[in-house]
Amino acid sequence: MISVNSLSKSFGKQEVLKNFDLVFSAGNSYAIMGPNGSGKTTLIKSILGMVLPDKGDIQIKSQSIQGNDTYRKHIGYMPQIGRYPQNIKVGQLFSMMKDMRPQVKDYDLDLVEAFELEKINQKAMSTLSGGTVQKVSAALAFLFHPEILILDEPTAGLDPIATEILKSKIAKERAAKKLILITSHILSDLEELTNHAVYIFEGKVFFDDSIDSLKDLTSEDKFSPAIAKLMQWTLNKRQPILV
C-alpha cells in the first residue's frame, strides 16, 4: 500500500535517509524501530508529506504523493506530542477536523466514547492535561476510518486504563486488515501490537521481516532480547539483513 523508492533526504550536511527502500503492505502491522536519530521520524514525516525528499519517491495506493494532498485522507496520524490551538474547545477541534474531510460522513467514535471525550467538549484545549491531549490525538487519528494508521509513540503519557483501551482499538483495526505503522520504544507494546519488525539504522533498513523470523534469526524466543541482539549487531556494523 505504501512503497518508498530510493528515498534520500539530508538536513544540511547530515544525510538522514540514504537511498531508502521499503514497502508497507495492507493487513500488516509494522513496528518501526531504531535508535534516536536513525531516521524514523523523517520517514514518517516524508510519508505524511511534511518533509519533502531530496531524491526518490513515495507511492501510496500506487499514486505518487508528490504535489498531491488528497492521498492524506487515507491516513490517520497520531503525533507523539499533540499540540493544538490553546483557545479552542475540544468539540470545536473535532468539528474542525471533520470540516477538513467533508466527504467522510461516517465517523469511528469507539475511542471518543471509550475515553468519554464528549464530557469535555466544552473545555478549552489549554486546560487539558498531557494525557487527555493524547487521548484526543488518538481519537482524532481513528475518527475517519482511515486505511492507514500512523501512530508515533501512541502509549506515551497515557494512564494504564487508557493504554489498554487504545491497544484493544489497535488490535481491532488490525483484525480489520488495516495497515498500521507504530513507532515506540516500549518493546512490550510493540510485541503485542505488531507482526512485522522494521529496524532502521543510520538511514538504512537494517532489518525488515516478520517478528517470528526475527526471533528465529537471533535464536531468541522473546521479542526484547531479540531486539537487543539486533541492536548489538548494528553496533558491530554488520551488513544489513535483507531477507
Binding site: F11, D69, R72, Y77, R83, P85, I88
Partner: protein
C-alpha cells in the same frame, strides 16, 4: 480554506494578547482625545504612536504566533488540505486580528468623539502596515528554524524601516543638498512602507507645507490621481511581495 480560517481566527481572537492590544490602543486613543479638541492634533499624535507601535507589535506577534502554532501547523499538514491553504489561514487570521484591534481600539473613541478624513486614513494606514509587517514576520519565520532568530530578524526589519532608513535618507539629502532631490526623495520614500504610510497621513492633515519645498512637491505629486494610485500600488506591492515569498518558502519547507 474558509473553515480553516474560521477556527484559526476563533483561536486568535480569544487569545489574551488580542484583548490587551485592543485595550492598549483604546487607552492611547482615549487619552489623546482628552488632551485636545483639535482633530488634526489628535490624528497627528495618534499617527506618531501608530507608525511606531503597529509595525513593532505586528512583527513580534506574528513571529511568536507562527512558532507557537508550529505543531498545530504540522498536524494540519498531515490532513488532506493544501499547504497554501494552511499558510493563508494562519496569515489571514493574524492580519485580521491585528486589524480588528486597530479598528476597535482607535475606532470606538472616534465614534464617541468624532473623526475626520485623516483619522479614517489613520485606520487604513494601520491595517496596511499590519499586513506588511506580518508578511515580514512570516517570511522571517519560515526562513529560520529558531524562534529567537526569527524575532531578531523581524525586529531588525522594524528598526531599519522605522529608524535607520530615515537617517539614511536625511544623510543623503544633506550630502547632496546642492542637487535637485525631489524625485530621488520620492523614490526613496516609495522604498519604505512606513514612510509611505506617514506621507499618506501627513497629506490628509494638510500640514505638508511644514515639510518645506519637498513637502510641497509631495503634495503636488500625491494629490494627483497618479500619485495616489502609485502610493497605493506601491503599498500593495509591499504587502504582496513578502507574503508571497513567505508562502513559496512555506510550500517547500520541511516540518
Amino acid at each position: 480554506m474558509r473553515k480553516l480560517l474560521k477556527y484559526a481566527l476563533y483561536d486568535i481572537l480569544k487569545s489574551r494578547f488580542a484583548l490587551i492590544y485592543t485595550v492598549f490602543l483604546a487607552l492611547v486613543a482615549i487619552s489623546t482625545y482628552q488632551v485636545t479638541e483639535d482633530m488634526s492634533k489628535v490624528s497627528l499624535s495618534l499617527m506618531n504612536i501608530l507608525i511606531m507601535i503597529v509595525p513593532l507589535i505586528s512583527a513580534v506577534f506574528a513571529t511568536t504566533h507562527f512558532y507557537n502554532n508550529l505543531e498545530f501547523i504540522e498536524l494540519m499538514l498531515a490532513q488532506p488540505v493544501r499547504r497554501s491553504q494552511v499558510f493563508f489561514s494562519q496569515l489571514l487570521a493574524v492580519v485580521c486580528m491585528l486589524s480588528l484591534s486597530i479598528i476597535l481600539g482607535f475606532g470606538l473613541p472616534m465614534v464617541l468623539w468624532g473623526a475626520d478624513s485623516s483619522l479614517i486614513m489613520l485606520l487604513v494606514v494601520g491595517i496596511i502596515l499590519s499586513a506588511v509587517f506580518t508578511g515580514f514576520a512570516f517570511l522571517a519565520s519560515v526562513l529560520t528554524r529558531d524562534k529567537a532568530k526569527a524575532i531578531g530578524i523581524s525586529l531588525a526589519l522594524w528598526i531599519f524601516f522605522s529608524l535607520v532608513y530615515d537617517g539614511l535618507v536625511l544623510y543623503i539629502i544633506y550630502t547632496f543638498a546642492d542637487y535637485p532631490l525631489e524625485k530621488a526623495t520620492l523614490a526613496m520614500v516609495m522604498l519604505n512602507p512606513v514612510d509611505l504610510g506617514r506621507i499618506l497621513m501627513l497629506l490628509q492633515l494638510d500640514i505638508s507645507a511644514l515639510m518645506g519645498y519637498t513637502g510641497a512637491f509631495f503634495k503636488q505629486f500625491f494629490s494627483g490621481n497618479l500619485g495616489t494610485i502609485l502610493a497605493i500600488g506601491t503599498l500593495a506591492i509591499w504587502i504582496l511581495v513578502p507574503n508571497y515569498a513567505a508562502m513559496s518558502v512555506f510550500k517547500k519547507r520541511d516540518f
